[in-house]
């Protein structure tokens, strides 16, 4: 009993421990991960207490060079965008820029997952270079989640938590909404415009599209 009281009396404020952990982690931490910093016998904080401490931390950072952000992987502390131009000068290299081809491929995987390379090529009307897929896989923004059961068993790509984390998103729901498509009235009402099911939709399109982009 003595050690319990002792530990409790010397424990720094919860907010400080969370701050230290989030700054040391080098990446996002979940509420569970933060709760895991406290042993059973030392009166671990409740989830409410953790959330309250995080909210207090966020408020503390309002006028600072860092901020608390919530992304798919949990909570993380990051350098504020307003300070980024100066912080960027720490490194010789410029921030990486990504080609339109890579971004379009990534967007298709994010919005239409799971999707095969062939389906991406059908929509983009151009071959997807192996380098792009390789880069996306290496950055762990996309991964192979299966294979479509058609000849050749092409890999099905989906986005990852790392992708969400990189772009500061909590979930795919936070992706910018896709642009609306105007209904081409002149085509008549019988036109099914957007195939509702993404998985089968792309295949259906491939079926009725006269342009083969293979090869």
């Amino acid at each position: 009993m003595g050690t319990l009281t002792e530990a409790m009396s010397t424990r720094p404020p919860l907010k400080n421990i969370l701050e230290g952990a989030l700054l040391a982690a080098g990446g996002p931490l979940t509420l569970d991960g933060l709760a895991g910093l406290f042993a059973e016998e030392e009166a671990p904080p409740t989830r409410e207490a953790l959330s309250a401490a995080l909210a207090a931390l966020e408020a503390d950072y309002r006028d600072r060079g860092i901020e608390l952000a919530q992304v798919a992987g949990g909570f993380r502390i990051q350098v504020r965008q307003s300070c980024a131009p100066w912080v960027a000068r720490l490194w010789d290299e410029k921030p990486p820029r990504y080609s339109r081809a890579l971004l379009e491929t990534l967007a298709l995987i994010a919005y239409r997952q799971p999707i095969t390379r062939g389906e991406i090529e059908d929509i983009r009307g151009v071959a997807v270079s192996t380098n792009i897929i390789k880069t996306l896989l290496e950055r762990e923004w996309v991964r192979v989640v299966g294979h479509r059961d058609v000849p050749g068993r092409p890999a099905l790509y989906a986005s990852t938590r790392k992708f969400l984390d990189y772009f500061g998103l909590k979930s795919l729901n936070e992706l910018p909404t896709l642009a609306e498509i105007r209904d081409p009235e002149f085509l008549g009402d019988d036109l099914p415009l957007e195939p509702p099911a993404p998985v089968t939709g792309a295949l259906a399109e491939a079926g009725n599209s006269p342009t083969a982009t293979q090869g």
Partner: protein
């Protein structure tokens, strides 16, 4: 479509290729760069040498086909022009947007002609890439011919020959925009940076694994089966409490020097407890772990751990 050679000298000297057609200032399709004002920036650093109205190619007697004026083509990077377009869909979209045409009502003949002009140029520049554009060219030609065919009046429900192409263009445009939106999201390594603070060393812990008593007992059972060394037929329940008592006695003597013999006994335990303690002491004496010392007859007996010779 005759063969039209690219004026290599113009490209080699790094001149700005301009278009002599109606559209004097052609911006790349929306989204080639984030804003019109900066569109030329990646391609036209530090004022490239200007030479006006250099016919780029002659199409059917007219100097129609040139590159957008604001596209500076470095001598060794002709593919920049091609890379400006992410494929035939992108080029088509560009042609449509550039002329403010309604994507839902594309003048297919006009667009097809313009498209073919670009494709001819690309064929000259890089054949293997043009292949993808040729597929689209074939599609456009097919649609064009179907549009020319008289449509039977009763075939109301027959689909507009352009319908599929329009759908595909719209679908592509959505993802083209989605890619721009994605690029605009605040992201790591550009708008935000991860942080990392050092932790003072010396606090790493090893979490010991959980152990179930059953695991210990099963290990013991296997051991018993392996080496049948526990053959003594003592009452085993007794044996265990005796052994526990031996350990307790030893613990009491630890670091104490001489301890009065009577201190090893707890009267409140009753007769059984006293007997176990006595047996434990005897057992420890037998195993040369403790020794009894009595200064003279009838003096108090003391016990201590044997310290060796």
């Amino acid at each position: 479509m005759s063969d039209r050679a690219l004026p290599a000298s113009a490209a080699a000297t790094g001149q700005t290729l301009s278009m002599a057609a109606d559209t004097a200032a052609i911006l790349p399709a929306q989204g080639l760069a984030t804003a019109g004002a900066t569109a030329a920036a990646p391609f036209a650093p530090a004022g490239p040498p200007q030479q006006r109205e250099m016919p780029f190619a002659i199409v059917q007697g007219q100097p129609l086909l040139t590159l957008p004026q604001d596209l500076y083509i470095p001598p060794d990077a002709l593919e920049i022009f091609l890379d400006t377009f992410e494929g035939p869909m992108d080029l088509l979209l560009y042609l449509i947007k550039r002329q403010n045409l309604d994507i839902l009502d594309i003048p297919i003949a006009q667009i097809t002609d313009q498209y073919m002009e670009y494709v001819e140029l690309m064929k000259d520049l890089r054949l293997e890439l043009a292949a993808e554009y040729l597929v689209m060219a074939a599609l456009l030609a097919e649609i064009k011919s179907r549009m020319l065919l008289p449509r039977p009046a009763e075939a109301e429900e027959e689909e507009d020959p352009r319908a599929d192409l329009v759908r595909r263009l719209q679908d592509y445009e959505r993802f083209k925009r989605a890619a721009q939106d994605l690029d605009a999201l605040p992201r790591l390594e550009r708008d935000h940076y991860l942080v990392q603070a050092l932790v003072p060393p010396g606090h790493r812990r090893l979490i010991p694994p959980e152990v179930d008593l059953r695991e210990v007992l099963l290990a013991l059972r296997d051991l018993l089966a392996r080496a049948d060394l526990f053959t003594s037929h003592k009452v085993e329940k007794e044996s265990l409490s005796l052994r526990e008592r031996m350990a307790i006695v030893l613990a009491k003597l630890q670091g104490m020097g001489f301890v009065p013999f009577v201190h090893l006994f707890e009267p409140h335990e009753g007769r059984a407890g006293l007997v176990v303690s006595f047996l434990a002491v005897l057992e420890l004496i037998k195993s040369a772990t403790i020794e009894l010392v009595q200064a003279e007859p009838f003096a108090p007996i003391h016990v201590r751990l044997r310290t060796g010779a």
